[in-house]
Symmetry: C2
Subunit: 429 residues, 2 copies
């Protein structure tokens, strides 16, 4: 490997063309090799993880975070199962998106291909390293991986096993690189020209920093201010169940609901029922004066401009709105274009909500927590995008590909078409 | 219209949801209205263009540029024909890219939708204003348009006609905006949050400036250093014909070939034949010492690191390479990932070239000048992208869309799936 990030990524770019040329069978063989190597080296990996866990305990890291750092038999079985699934998925490359005869003996094809070199900066979760590298291999991309410092030993151990198995099974030498120093992030951000895409995962502040400090395209999301809107025409028991799950099932996730919007036409009894369901689940409510006056018990007053708050905790903002239209305006203004849901029995209102809410995921009658690559059946995800360019929502294999146009000619020149000697005869094949 | 760019684009964002909700029939009706209005107001438009042409003549603008500034009966018929074609194209919106049952009564759909608000900065070519605004309308996007100052009168006249006809036929009030001052470009570049995408067209330096001065995603190309590689196994007459067209048919275009790579195994007689064909067409040759020694007549010596030069003129760089492999390495290093062609009779070599050259367009046996939305049968193009994120190559309607995930549930919560009470049963519909 080259000594600094610019040289490293330049070598990776050179190898990215070899990586792109591997067949699906060759990429699957690499994945199989990685899966087997992870299993046969598991004791070393677990030992490295014990070291990270010991360090984390000494630093009094909270239990909820410790659970994420852990890499044990259970997590190993999850990731190897994930690799197995990925091997079974159809090849995302060399798919023909368009095949068109422009004229006689003149065929245009639009064919999917890898993006090239992708830099992925992910949170302290060792299983993410395995998932991300497998996704990149299946999609024919080279990857620079940078994980959280809390699992530096586990990451190194996992990476060594993955890298060795990948290269032994035919991956180019410079297809994978593990960045370990924090300064390497800044170096990576300067590698435009050799790195095609950065995918940052982590805190709002961290992702904002990445987005503001690179010329390389960035795909991801800084925040997840997701909404659940409860329409007057809805089943209140269903609304309670979904709202509680959307808020509490895993509060640290970007797809957890942060704001509950309630139709002002709902009866006070129903409103109280919803509030109680949340409070009984341990959720603290915050709201503006109007709703606080109705829900006199246990609600913290907040100002109207705080409705863009992402709590990532057992806290929810709640607000009354004048039906569907105000809900849509509120979400488009205060939301983060991630995932928003309407609870309603009225199909027309549902369709209007889904049409006009400008988010990657627009749901009716289910928890916003479903916004996830696994739950969408993508096998895995490399992240979730709230941008509208390239991929949107959970990003699986398709989001890691681009395409090229291949044009097969027989000596055609533009002059003949410009002068009218030849005419295009477009025919989709 | 609001008074400054930030307010303007914020109003456009608010109207973008209305724009997105228009049906294909409604968008086609707007296009029809624009077409008819252009025809019935043509005398005013031509008069405005005469003023621009008069000013341009006074500034001694070269003939080749004058031709681009002209907007006459012929250009009008081109653009109205373009609108007619666009109306006939299938709706790029509300296409179902994926429909999957996640479980009983739980349907995921991936549906195409507009990007939102797009800022397009284009060169002094009034027909571009009509094409770009029609493409944006057909794809349900709002557009901020900024044209070249040389055609300010024509642009204003065209825009007034288009805007009035669009709104009269149902387009939202803030769906189109014409920016006229040069300072408005810098203001536009700061409108992240309300503008989703910037598409700059123009000189290398100008596009570089845009790319370096905005947080908004940019789609386009700064330069077009396209290559034609002539393999030893090729028909030399075909090679000459294609190379001459690729260089000379329209030198100012980004898809004109700037560098000719020639297999070192080609006979000197064949090499001279190619050089002569180019020189006879009025092209000046430049090359490194090796090729200059072979082509003693009329070749300017250049250094090896100048092979990234974009001439946009009747000049071509020429270089000998050690066959296909060196050609590929040269193109990936010196090229701009725009469009590159191999001239060969060997299908395997053609496929290898098309696989390994990292460009938006990879061609065999035809002119690089074919890289164009019209010639690909897209109806029109809003620009050409050399980036790999989102759209690549000529960008037509599809490149102006994104998608959202719609999830139709019946009260599903993630807790039930996490606890094993429910299981996903993925089934593509």
């Amino acid at each position: 490997m080259a000594e600094n990030m610019r040289e490293t990524t330049a070598s990776m770019r050179a190898d990215s063309f070899k990586m792109a040329a591997l067949t699906n069978e060759e990429r699957n063989r690499i994945l199989k090799g990685i899966k087997e190597a992870l299993i046969s080296n598991k004791e070393n990996i677990f030992r490295a993880n014990e070291l990270d866990m010991k360090n984390a305990l000494e630093q009094n890291i909270p239990d909820s975070v410790l659970k994420r750092l852990k890499f044990d038999e259970h997590k190993l079985s999850d990731v190897t199962e994930g690799i197995e699934q990925l091997m079974g998925l159809p090849d995302p490359l060399n798919k023909t998106l368009l095949k068109r005869e422009l004229d006689k003996d003149f065929i245009l094809q639009q064919i999917t291909c890898p993006i090239g070199v992708i830099g992925i900066i992910f949170e302290a979760r060792p299983d993410a390293l395995v998932q991300i590298s497998s996704l990149c291999i299946k999609s024919g991309n080279c990857a620079v991986l940078k994980g959280g410092k809390e699992t530096v030993n586990t990451n190194r151990s996992l990476f060594d096993v993955i890298y060795k198995a990948a290269v032994e099974n035919g991956a180019p030498e410079n297809s994978l690189f593990l960045a370990e120093g924090h300064s390497e992030i800044d170096e990576l951000l300067k590698c435009q020209g050799s790195v095609d895409l950065i995918i940052p995962r982590g805190s709002n502040k961290f992702v904002q920093y990445i987005m503001e400090n690179t010329k390389i395209p960035v795909m991801g999301h800084a925040d997840g201010v997701c909404h659940t809107y409860i329409d007057v025409e809805s089943d209140i028991d269903l609304a309670c169940k979904v709202a509680v799950d959307a808020k509490t099932q895993y509060t640290a996730a970007c797809n957890a609901t942060e704001t509950l919007l309630v139709d002002r036409k709902l009866s006070t009894a129903d409103l109280k029922k919803i509030a109680e369901a949340l409070m009984n689940a341990g959720v603290k409510l915050r709201g503006n004066k109007e709703i606080a006056d109705l829900l006199t018990r246990n609600i913290e007053i907040m100002s109207d401009d705080e409705y863009n708050t992402e709590y990532l905790d057992m806290i929810i903002s709640i607000k009354l709105v004048d039906g569907l239209d105000e809900a849509i305006v509120h979400i488009n203004r205060f939301g983060s274009h991630h995932t928003d849901c309407i609870i309603t029995n009225n199909k027309e209102k549902a369709e209007k909500f889904m049409q006009l809410v400008d988010s990657a995921g627009v749901y009716v009658n289910c928890s916003t927590r479903f916004a996830d690559g696994f739950r969408y059946g993508f096998g895995a995800e490399v992240g979730i995008s709230t941008g509208k360019i390239h991929a949107r929502g959970p990003v699986g294999l398709d989001g890691l590909t681009t395409y090229k146009y291949k044009l097969y000619g027989a000596g055609q020149i533009v002059g003949d078409y410009a002068e009218g000697k030849s005419q295009f005869r477009f025919k989709d094949l």
